[in-house]
Amino acid sequence: MTGRDLLPIAAFALIAACVPLFVTSNVVLNFLVFTLIIALAAQGWNLLGGYGGQYSFGHAAFFGTGAYLTAILQVRFGMNAYPAFAAGIALAALVGLAIGFMAFRSGLRGSYFALVTLAFAEVFRVLANASEVTGGAAGILIRLRADPLNFQFAERGTFLWVAAALVTLALVATLALERSRLGAQLVAVRENEAAAQALGVDVLAVKLRAIVLSAGMTGAAGGLYAQYFLYLDAQIAYGTWISVEALLAPIVGGAGTVFGPVLGAVILHGLAEATKTIAGRIPGIDLVVFGIVLILVVRFPPRDIPGLLKRWRR
């Protein structure tokens, strides 16, 4: 990594840092913070799905674990928010290791890996909905104590800085991974697992490292969500919506690229807001747009678009 590689990331950080200086509308800030949280969750998915080619349909398992532990340690055990957040990330990574160990050791790939991750997320959702420590169906509420020492901020703009800083960190980490030996091995596994193995890549170890990093990052997004909205229930934390969001953004913005998830999250949520403005408050209409965009992106991959345009011009 040279200074030049970091330039686009620095530009992102600078722009994000300037936003609260010019934008005061709470609606806009809210939208931006939410989009950044999604971008962070999606960056986590990207490490495993984008670089490693292992498509998880259940990243809610990690998001929810990060979110719930951050909340539970504060509410039930009186822990400070920062160590609780760190513990949430650690547990999410551990859950990633456990799921990854079971799934990858059994050789699950492609659709089967997607199915098993989906099933794990659903198990967690049902358990969280029935368990007492998570607050069951009523959910769990973190007490409002707006103080930077509690990882809560009176101003939304301040929270935007925090979220942007974490996304920046995730971007740097992704770039570092891309340039690392692990990153190269991961891409090799994605492109041709058998060939990678034949060349001496320890496929299982590579996949496990990727899912641990991936789960930890998505878990961080969950913890951040908990600190921002201060409320969780099983449907929010472990619902399919976040699994889909985490997968959609990288696919739309470019899976296996450093900026893909951020770009995808901004495009998708920008589109969603635009749709809501045009179509009014019809429930679900923004998600219909997500679905259409997903199919179009798969049908016409963005990296092919320059080629398509060239052919079309002729």
């Binding site: 079971m102 659709s111 098993v116 198990v123 679900g284 997500f290 798969v298």
Partner: protein, 291 residues
């Protein structure tokens, strides 16, 4: 274990009856897998759409769901055919991950269109026989579920006849076994793919009509069924029609018993655990079927 034998017997029998309809939902999934080798993530959303269609038939036109079953099956055959021919086929360009994503996209679109049109309220239809029961020895069986069981068996037989004795069935089996070979002898593979997808969707329409008298409809109702259906398909062996029906019965009983012992909210856990366990413990069997 705490329950008198009649209660347990009743739970097992009702589980078998519900399981048969689960099996019918899974039948469409396994058929599509067996021939197209794709996991259709839009299966649940298509079931939701079919349940709303049956709901509208009853609520707006007064047609009994059992009467509507066959016309709906024809309609959804068309829907399935077109979806495969116009969307999934062209968009996936033969890649596994693409099919995964395209069918996921379809399910998001269908589910949320239902949400936009019908809003998130749960709805149910009002039929005179919804609460009726049939006495079977010491057990009381729900009338709609007995009908569902019988109809599933009929559909199973019809499907068997179709696959075994018709030219289309022969072509489907040929494509499932050896796509390139089938294409070489002049079978239109894209057409057969779409027909198979259509048959799978038609099975869903019949399941929807059978489920409606005893289940609520909501935009997300398909999700619950599709995870059950995935479990059944994995348990019964991907692509196996008999496996789907037998797996359906097993899962129906498991759900019924774990609901009895663990309570409603934890009852689903049993199914998911079986699902994960089968995926993890017997992956070679699964991949053997895939190759």
């Amino acid at each position: 274990m705490g329950f008198p034998p009649e209660i347990i017997l009743e739970a097992v029998l009702n589980g078998l009856l519900t399981g048969a309809v689960y099996g019918l939902v899974a039948l469409g999934l396994t058929l599509v897998y067996g021939v197209l080798h794709i996991i259709n993530f839009a299966h649940g959303a298509l079931l939701t759409a079919a349940m709303y269609a049956a709901y509208v038939a009853r609520a707006s036109f007064g047609v009994d769901p059992y009467v509507a079953a066959l016309p709906l099956a024809a309609l959804f055959f068309g829907v399935g055919y077109l979806v495969q021919r116009l969307v999934i086929g062209p968009a996936s360009r033969g890649k596994d991950e693409n099919i995964l994503l395209v069918t996921l996209g379809l399910s998001i679109i269908i589910e949320n269109l239902m949400l936009a049109v019908f809003r998130s309220d749960t709805r149910s239809i009002d039929v005179p026989y919804a609460m009726e029961v049939i006495e079977f020895g010491p057990a009381l069986l729900s009338y709609p579920r007995v009908i569902g069981f019988g109809a599933t068996i009929l559909v199973g037989i019809a499907l068997f006849v179709l696959m075994r004795f018709t030219a289309t069935g022969k072509a489907i089996r040929a494509v499932a076994k050896e796509r390139t070979g089938a294409a070489l002898v002049g079978i239109d593979v894209a057409h057969i793919y779409a027909v198979t997808f259509g048959i799978g969707t038609a099975c869903l329409a019949i399941s929807a009509a059978l489920l409606l008298p005893s289940f609520y409809v909501s935009p997300r109702v398909g999700n619950a069924f599709v995870l059950v259906a995935f479990t059944i398909v994995v348990l019964g062996g991907m692509g196996s029609v008999v496996g789907a029906l037998v797996g359906g019965l097993v899962i129906g009983v498991v759900e019924s018993l774990s609901g009895l012992y663990l309570g409603e909210s934890l009852g689903q856990i049993g199914i998911f655990l079986i699902f994960i366990l089968v995926l993890l413990v017997r992956p070679t069997g699964l991949f053997g079927a895939r190759a």
